[in-house]
Symmetry: C2
Subunit: 430 residues, 2 copies
């Protein structure tokens, strides 16, 4: 079989016989000639044939064509340029008469027919960007000696607080779906893996249906041994993210500008770092109507802080540090013994939280005391606490939501638009 030519490469193959594969974007007839616009991953190509030679394929049919690349002039269907004079066209199967969705269909309806919705070049670009971003992440990890982890998604006990947990009947017992690989990546530190990453699914039985929540999403997790403060963890994350954004900008910057109207900026390092209390004061000063909850920022406060930093420092990112330990997980290390502050951070990207990270408490006695203070029952997490009894290095890490990253990169405000197949309380299919 003749080698395939991609739509974007047709112009380079003038006078050659070519084979093209793709979808019928549109079909029109022009005085006895038929114009078919073929669409593939790289763009579109113009196919022309006598109307009596090639029967009219339906829109969105999958076709393979052979033909010869020739120059087109003003008299040709579609005007001057390049076209393929078709001598053979095979449809991979008949196409049902009416497409169930169109460009203007409401989101939930489009999601019902997601495989058709994803054919739009804008939607395909989301997953090209995702692929490039993950490739850049892994490249950076490989250069820095990381081990890839595949930790189990079925666990014997609830982690976090026991809320928003999916249960799974497991033979004669109960299992739970992980909400985060946190305990497992720390276990890898106790095992001497030193530096690990994992990109995998996590599950949250959150009954609220919003444009930012889902019951299943892809978490990007990193953990580093032999670091002594969250400052080192932030140092790592900002260099890593700059590498990722650079790759996306280089490979897709123009297409993102064209299809999403967003410029991809490669961030300067270091990223701005703002202690929470200062962040709260900045929000209060720039948006006095936004009353913030004690010891935290809410989503509106984060957006206001993001806008402030963008305005004052021209930066898309800001690390928020010095959260009260009471509002953070028990395993975050504190700045001093008995300190009310945790050695943790959130990272905001264009005003949206994309990461939580910290230096972890690796001293068994201190960790147990912190769990007790936070009211975490010890028995169910013995298997985790045991990791700190036989030599565990100081370590820290962070998690990043893959779809939140895509939302920030593309300026998209609905998580369902950047997820291959969204899962929410009201959506479990297709």
């Amino acid at each position: 079989m003749m080698e395939r030519t991609m739509a974007a490469d047709v112009a380079k193959r003038m006078d050659a016989r070519v084979r093209l594969c793709g979808w019928v974007d549109r079909v029109t007839d022009h005085q006895g000639r038929r114009l078919v616009v073929l669409r593939d991953r790289t763009g579109t190509a113009r196919l022309v044939a006598p109307a009596d030679v090639v029967s009219a394929p339906r829109r969105e049919a999958a076709i393979e064509v052979t033909g010869t690349v020739v120059p087109a002039d003003a008299g040709d269907p579609g005007g001057p340029g390049v076209m393929v004079l078709v001598d053979g066209l095979v449809e991979s199967g008949p196409v049902a008469a009416d497409l169930p969705i169109g460009v203007g269909s409401p989101l939930e309806h489009r999601l019902d027919w997601r495989f058709l919705d994803l054919r739009r070049p804008r939607n395909l670009l989301v997953f090209e960007v995702q692929t490039t971003a993950e490739r850049a992440m892994r490249h950076y990890w490989a250069e820095h000696g990381f081990i890839e982890l595949h930790s189990p998604k079925l666990r014997p006990n609830p982690n976090r607080t026991g809320r928003e947990l999916f249960t799974v009947p497991y033979f004669d017992r109960q299992a739970y779906l992980v909400q985060s690989p946190q305990f497992y990546k720390q276990m890898a530190m106790a095992a001497g893996f030193e530096r690990v990453f994992e990109i995998g699914p996590v599950f949250r039985a959150n009954p609220t249906a919003t444009s930012r929540h889902d019951t299943e999403f892809t978490s990007v997790d990193v953990e580093l041994s032999w670091v002594h403060s969250h400052e080192e963890v932030m140092d790592f994350e900002e260099r890593w993210l700059r590498h990722v954004v650079s790759a996306v900008q280089a490979d897709h910057g123009d297409e993102i500008a064209r299809l999403f109207g967003v410029e991809v900026h490669v961030p300067e390092i270091p990223f701005p770092r703002v202690p929470l209390e200062e962040g709260r004061r900045l929000v209060e000063a720039s948006a006095p109507h936004l009353i913030q909850p004690p010891g935290d920022l809410d989503a509106a406060g984060e957006r206001a802080l993001g806008r402030h930093v963008a305005r004052e420092q021209g930066h898309d990112f800001v690390f928020v540090t010095d959260y009260p330990e009471a509002t953070r997980p028990f395993y975050h290390m504190r700045t001093q013994p008995g300190s009310p502050l945790a050695m943790g951070f959130d990272l905001l990207w264009k005003g949206m939280e994309v990461t939580t990270g910290s230096q972890r408490e690796h001293r068994y006695d201190v960790l147990v005391a912190q769990a007790e203070e936070h009211g975490v029952p010890l028995d169910p997490i013995r298997y985790y606490l045991d990791c700190f009894r036989f030599g565990c290095p100081p370590h820290g890490g962070f998690g990043l939501g893959l779809t939140r990253m895509l939302m920030s990169l593309l300026g998209e405000d609905d998580v369902r638009e950047v997820t291959f197949l969204h899962r929410g309380p009201d959506r479990l299919s297709p």
Copy 2:
């Protein structure tokens, strides 16, 4: 803080002051001097200090030391070579008195304390190899224009046959954990993604506890559009696997030989391809006591065929083709309309099945007829069948079990040894 030196690099830093981080492999005293062997990811280093300066750390303590690299002679603890004269040693925390496992502990006991078990260099190597193999896979995919997929693990209906399925109460409904991303990667073909891969967890509620089965494992999945037969899919898989094995051989061949006693052979392509009936005859001839089930090979038959091919052709791999369609999933294309044979294959690696693949049936009417013939109810899979009604290209693909690949590469015959944290009917922790 001084930059860290890895144990393997100590000899290169003669006379320098260094900082090392790792675990205490052993401690011995020599006439007033203390010898500590430190172990990190790269190997071991010899630390020496006056016994009254450095208190004796316990075995497996996590330590950070500073000191000077000097030559050692016959009179030094450990004999001639290189040692670090320690001037500072910090333990990251106290270590409980008795290690719960040792080298001779039974497997299930070692798995209870997996984070300690994983500290053995042999076990760490498994995950270094896994990391390298996945990096090579993704590199090959990137070079060939693949998109990375993260398909949902929660699905609305059972796939496959409904057996071995975990259920998840999902708000007011029931969800199921995926046994394979099969339908979703095909959906990506209907969406125009053209070529996709996914490395992610799949779940099988198999109640049998064996050394080859688990209830959760990592599946490597590939799907390709615009291919017209399973021969093209095998062509792709063998080139891809050769690339992967080459990378493992180059990066870890020596260590695998040292710690597993196994030579990593980079396979020649094409791999041998044997139709099932011929494979059965070869098994019958070389191992007449192995009675094979009709239309298939069992595990012992696969091992016998693997041995036969290794002996006759010196090859670790063999594709088995031409299975009866009745023993294959309904979505495998048949060699001809109405043919009893499917366009599918299994790949055996050292006599173990690591892959099932096929050309998929993409013609809606034929697919529906095959589902009906196989007794698959249509209503629950409407969302899948719909993908073939609006233009779906011809496509094929395969899945590969990541741990089975590691078992083949390392000559290891228990899946629990090559899984970070094993999950089986009797094991849900740690």
